[in-house]
């Protein structure tokens, strides 16, 4: 099962990188969303995939008897999902505001902070 998931993660990474290389801000944001999902699946897979075994330990034992699902990657992924969701939401709003103010969503034309015809510093008095 790991192999299949690994191939899927690779596919996600490829799509994310392709989209993030785009000039349009909206496509970049879609790429970031997919990248976040790829990373979450990667963490999940790194915790070893197991099928239909709950992460429960019998009362009289300290360690599980059989291989069980690893709860830690699920906790990590949950944290990562919350964080990447909030960041994605912020970036969406930011991109929309930037589009409203700057009139473009093409990153090459967003040159307010770094003007295109920037003057060289003074050479003498």
């Amino acid at each position: 099962m790991e192999t299949g998931v690994a191939i899927l993660i690779g596919l996600f990474f490829a799509v994310a990188v392709y989209l993030m290389l785009s000039k349009q801000l909206v496509r970049m944001l879609l790429g970031i969303a997919i990248l976040g999902n790829a990373v979450n699946m990667l963490i999940f897979t790194n915790g070893r995939l197991t099928r239909e075994v709950p992460p429960l330990i019998p009362e009289h034992l300290y360690v599980p008897e059989v291989a069980t699902a690893n709860p830690l990657p699920q906790a990590l992924v949950l944290t990562a999902i919350v964080i990447s969701f909030s960041f994605f939401a912020f970036l969406l709003v930011l991109a929309f505001r930037a589009y409203q103010e700057l009139g473009t969503d093409e990153v090459n034309r967003m040159r307010v902070a770094e003007p295109e015809n920037d003057q060289t510093p003074p050479q003498g008095y």
Binding site: M20, L25, M28, I32, L35, G36, V39, L42, I43, T45, N46, G47, Y62, V63, L72, P73, L76, T79, A80, I83, S84, S86, F87, F90, L91, L94, A95, R97, A98, E101, L102, V107, M110, R111, V112, A113, E114, D118, Q119, T120, P121, P122, Y125
Partner: protein, 529 residues
């Protein structure tokens, strides 16, 4: 290095002994800023209380960090575990000399920024949450410096990142939106790389505790294997992005000059250094073999960062953008320390980080005053400020000397250590790059001083003539709020320059703590390691 594996009796995985009262200081910087930030957020409409409360809380943060540092120096590394689950199961906060020193310096800088912001951030900025965001930023910064868990480090990075977004767009100008888009996207990509590397590291070792990973790496038969090298390369790219090292540094000059000047000052002081701190932690403490494997790459990245930063600064006419390039050049020096990796080199990097936090914040604050006095950030339009305020001209000259690494100020000693360490390690090019970068920085900053202070007036003014009256808002310059923080930071720069022994000892202690992590591991695992 601890030889044997740490065996934990699973039935005794819970901490039962109460935490010593002094050890609560480990979590105090995080609690103060987090709770204070929350309260400030609730009172955000009451702009008068906000400034007072923010400054008081940041002052408390300075005291708590100072107490923490003193306790660390007295008792050695101290650890506090969360939720009473012992490591490696629970999350641990660990304060060693490195983390505690940087927490204290960060707190001092944040306090200065809080005071400076009291006069330069207007009511709109306060209502949009300058003080809450500043406090929450410090939560993230202190948390990153004090955590002993690598996933937790990621979480603290995110905490400081989301607060920095809030600070960056404060004021809502077009230029800020442009800067924030680039800053936001690039930093998010960097954080995702960090997370990928952490996920892979967890897959290899099954633990996230830094001390535990350090032990397990030392026990590996082939620590420079391909998988671990991949993880190390991913970590290096991620932290290089955070620290703005060449070639992933272009977000910094695009965004650091856009926000309110006090926000720029805090960012330039703290944020990139958290990236450097993470590099030291991961490459020197956790993955020493990978650092040796990648030393040449890190060294060349350091050289190019040093040179491009200084050359970029030479090509700027806008003071804030010029300073942005100097931040990058400073990062190159610290990377040089990581590349060499000996105790001497790492102590140089730590000392340089402390120096850089203080001097870059002070320079941005000084450039804010420059703007208030001269009415512009543009070198073409500045001039004649020497006549307006001689003392400020002197302070600025101190900062110019310090950032260029000239004696007798704080930049000199770490540069001497780093160059010495580079030559001792046989990396002559690295040492030469540090010296050349310092020379180019002197040129760039010397030019700022000559244009802004020395010549009579703006470009085109005939020599010998006094400056034409510039329309500038000098009403903010009368209060102590802008001068006090600059004075504190300059005093520290002079103190560290003339009396470097204290800081040298501290950074050597911090460096030996990460190069030989026995004390760190012992603190986390309660003496068994």
């Amino acid at each position: 290095m601890a030889g044997s594996s740490v065996s934990v009796d699973y039935s005794e995985a819970m901490a039962t002994a109460p935490v010593a009262s002094g050890d609560w200081l480990v979590i105090a910087p995080i609690l103060i800023t987090m709770l204070g930030g929350a309260v400030c957020l609730m009172l955000r409409k009451n702009t008068d209380i906000q400034a007072k409360m923010g400054i008081a809380l940041l002052g408390l943060l300075v005291l708590a960090s100072l107490g923490l540092l003193i306790r660390v120096l007295d008792h050695g590394v101290i650890t506090m575990v969360m939720g009473s689950w012992l490591p490696p199961f629970g999350i641990a906060l660990t304060a060693d000399a490195l983390g505690a020193t940087l927490t204290l310096i960060g707190a001092i800088v944040a306090f200065c920024a809080g005071v400076y912001g009291a006069s330069t951030v207007d009511n709109t900025g306060r209502r949009y949450g300058f003080y809450p965001f500043l406090l929450l930023l410090m939560t993230g910064v202190s948390g990153a410096f004090l955590t002993a868990d690598i996933f937790n480090l990621y979480v603290w990075f995110e905490v400081l990142l989301i607060s920095s977004y809030g600070l960056l767009v404060l004021g809502n100008d077009r230029i800020q939106l442009d800067g924030a888009v680039k800053y936001g996207v690039l930093n998010l990509v960097g954080t995702n790389l960090f997370l990928i590397a952490t996920g892979l590291l967890y897959g290899i070792f099954g633990t996230l505790n830094m001390a535990d990973i350090a032990i397990k790496v030392a026990e590996l038969e082939n620590p420079a294997s391909g998988t671990l090298a991949t993880v190390a390369a991913l970590y290096f790219l991620a932290f290089a992005m955070k620290a703005a090292a060449f070639p992933v540094n272009f977000w910094l000059p695009a965004s650091y000059h856009t926000p309110n000047i006090v926000v720029s000052a805090v960012f330039a002081g703290l944020l990139t250094k958290v990236g450097v701190y993470a590099l030291i932690r991961v490459f020197v403490l956790i993955l020493p073999e990978s650092r040796i494997f990648m030393a040449d790459v890190i060294g060349w990245v350091a050289i190019v960062t040093l040179l491009t930063g200084a050359i970029g600064a030479l090509a700027q006419s806008e003071v804030r953008r010029l300073l942005g390039y100097l931040v990058i050049a400073g990062i190159g020096s610290m990377l040089a320390g990581v590349a060499v990796g000996s105790v001497l080199a790492v102590s140089g990097a730590i000392f340089y980080a402390v120096h850089s936090i203080i001097v870059m914040t002070a320079l941005y604050m000084a450039s804010g005053i420059l703007n208030l006095m001269g009415g512009s950030y543009d070198l073409r339009k500045l001039g004649g400020l020497y006549q307006k305020n001689v003392a400020f001209a002197g302070v600025f000259l101190v900062l110019v000397f310090a950032v260029s690494g000239l004696p007798p100020f704080s930049g000199f000693w770490p540069k001497v250590i780093l160059v010495d360490a580079a030559f001792q390690d046989g990396r002559a090019w690295l040492g030469a790059a540090i010296l050349i970068s310092g020379f180019l920085t002197t040129l760039a900053m010397g030019r700022v001083w000559i244009f802004a202070f020395w010549r009579g007036g703006p470009e085109g003014t005939p020599d010998g003539q006094t400056a034409p009256s510039v329309v500038a808002d000098t009403s903010q310059l009368t209060g102590a709020a802008v001068w006090l923080p600059l004075g504190i930071l300059t005093a520290l720069i002079i103190y560290f320059g003339l009396q470097p022994e204290w800081m040298l000892e501290l950074s050597t202690q911090g460096a030996s703590g990460v190069v030989d992590p026995l004390g760190y591991v012992r603190s986390v695992f309660g003496g068994e390691g």
